[in-house]
Symmetry: C2
Subunit: 407 residues, 2 copies
């Protein structure tokens, strides 16, 4: 009887998310998880957020009603103020869209820009949620390799040319997480940022700059955002989120783009979810208005830099010498280990038996048959999140990983 | 420079929502609006909802974190309990998906079921947000006329046959709001419900039963839901929402479908927005757990039945005799007026000049060139929402409308 459903080609192609399946496997007592890219719940500002719910009592008639697809005005005011510092210009209101997580920003941009078969250039490795959104819009992928300084931007013109030769199509979009990439933790150098912004204009391919982690820098000097370097020019679409700096449960993020693109994304979302919850937007706006965000940032920078250092120490101490290579991240959520030998997928099975979990690198690359040109895979890599576990568990988890790698 | 964006065919086809444009026009001092389908903000349970924010203080570490795409467990428990009464069976957990508004349920179902060019049967008239979601999935439309007893179900086999003849395709889905349709306010008769459930199984075309208004009955006897009549069988996909009975600003709704379909929708949304806000889900769950929903329903049934009666009185009193025909709704949000002559679009312009607003009927039909078979348009109709304005404004607004219709 369930044969009554005839699924779309898109749905028929969809595979269970490898990360989701993995999360089912690691729900075991005693498991230490470096797998999920989750903030530390013990660092959530529970009391202040709960206090901010006073806005519901004060302004409930507005807050409980439908809101504009563009976002709740008091939150938009906070964001425009935040962005003038971050992006170096006063973002005009018609360039701002509040989204339900920045994943929604990626998804809306993908749906308004991509036709099935279009090519998007993504970093190898890149965020799996973005692969999913782009794939749902029918994208094919050209991958651009990364090193400790992020995307190897100098390869871009050649990759674009190869895509054009292979498909007859100019890539429609370049996707990057320049600051503390998920999963690699790498931060794009200033020189490469400038080059990317220039190439994007020259090649007429817009860049989607996804920036959930940029404010989570624990050491070293910050580089300006791509959108800042571009002077706000249209070739950079900028997105950021409260998920990593405040709380993912509020589902509040935003995209900065041209008025045209914002309008198209608004129209698209009116067929999707109409608007982001005014309740959570009001909570976040109130939290910012009361000045809590600055002091909370100080706190989590302290907590996360401690955890980052703890994982660095533990990996150095517990992993067999030469078994893996990595660059200590200067911010964000992740260590990205390159194994000297063997497959991280196979390592994962043995790690689970020792009750420590990570995400095998393969999850961060498009499938081989979705890639145009040189195919990159992540089988030698492993992503370890250091923000979720406590420091003691970080040490013990790395000890277990060391046993697995040595065994 | 903004030519750097090359939009998708889908985005290029998208038109500004007629209703959205209209909302811009009616933002004038002194305007009485029957246009938006909005709940009465003065009836929102502001105090109790604000009190429920205590759950943030109590359970913040969970509530502020990422949640499962399927929904927040305590809310899911409330919904399963609510549904066992409403749908007549205990909904297994794997048949339930929490969504960000029921529009998202429609959108996800459209994306997992429809390929571009597929045909969906919708009521004429129907909810414009659904037309938008289906159109974004590439749908074409066959329309089935409605009368005071809802969809004229007996025409269904013929319409299916005509679609097959014209396109070679079996329609993929039937969309209906059986209880107090937006916009027509009509309630599908019990006989037609039974017939629709039987046809859906026989023709092997699933029905999407969108039920935001079912619990808002002010008079007359309730009919069982289609999903109830079907005994929970797969040919009915059921969706409902807290938007109309509690508050749209929480963006909390749900869909009940087969485990297969729920799984496909979950996979799809992991490329869209990951999950509904755990914060608003926890607020709603707490609100239900404290037993507030029942007493609030009593209150809004009282408020809205009063407003419905007020609009009926005012229309009878102020509209010139014979200028329009309508059936007094037994529930929901809307009156649906059929004009004796002239176009509602042209009437709209004159009404705005008199400072009263409604939505012209054309908004509730797919575009002519999207319709397969007999084309229905709404030019003789007007939708009037009675829930938003206060009773005094309802009277004055209908008086103005009467002037326009008489002039």
């Amino acid at each position: 009887m369930s044969s009554i459903y005839r699924y779309s080609a898109l749905a028929s192609r969809m595979q269970p998310s490898p990360i989701r399946e993995l999360f089912q496997m690691i729900r075991q007592p005693g498991m230490i998880s470096f797998a999920g890219g989750l903030p530390d719940p013990s660092a959530f500002p529970v009391g202040p957020v709960a206090d901010c719910a006073e806005v519901l009592a004060r302004d409930g008639r507005r807050v409980l009603q439908y809101g504009a697809s563009e976002g709740y005005p008091p939150l938009r005011d906070c964001l425009i103020e935040m962005m003038s510092d971050r992006l170096g210009y006063e973002v005009p209101p018609d360039q701002l869209l509040v989204t339900s997580g920045s994943q929604q920003g990626v998804n809306l941009a993908a749906r308004v820009l991509l036709d099935p078969g279009d090519v998007v250039i993504v970093e190898a490795p890149t965020y799996p949620g973005t692969i999913h959104s782009l794939r749902n819009a029918g994208a094919r992928f050209a991958t651009i390799p990364c090193d400790a300084d992020g995307m190897q931007v100098d390869l871009l013109p050649e990759i674009v040319e190869n895509v054009e030769t292979a498909t007859g199509l100019r890539p429609k979009l370049i996707y990057t997480v320049p600051d503390f990439s998920n999963p690699s933790g790498a931060c794009m150098s200033l020189e490469r940022r400038r080059l990317l912004v220039a190439f994007a204009a020259e090649l007429e391919i817009p860049v989607f700059e996804d920036d959930p982690y940029g404010k989570l820098r624990y050491t070293g000097e910050a580089f300006p955002n791509l959108k800042h370097i571009a002077g706000g020019a249209p070739q950079v679409i900028y997105a950021s989120s409260f998920s990593k700096v405040l709380a993912p449960g509020v589902r509040v993020a935003w995209t900065v783009a041209t008025p045209d693109l914002v309008r198209a994304m608004v129209l698209m979302r009116q067929g999707e979810d109409l608007c982001t919850s005014t309740v959570t937007q009001a909570l976040v706006a109130e939290y910012c208005r009361r000045g809590h965000l600055e002091s909370h940032m100080d706190k989590i920078l302290d907590v996360y830099s401690g955890k980052c250092a703890a994982m660095q120490r533990a990996l150095v101490q517990h992993l067999p010498s030469g078994a893996a290579h990595w660059t200590e991240p200067e911010g964000g959520f992740f260590f990205w280990l390159e194994l000297a030998k063997g497959s991280s997928h196979e390592l994962f099975d043995r790690a689970i038996a020792e009750k420590v979990a990570f995400v095998p690198g393969g999850a961060f690359y498009p499938d081989n048959d979705e890639q145009i040109g040189e195919v990159h895979t992540g089988d030698r890599f492993a992503r370890l999140c250091f923000t979720f576990a406590d420091e003691e568990s970080i040490d013990e988890g790395c000890r277990r990983l060391g046993r697995v790698l040595g065994g």
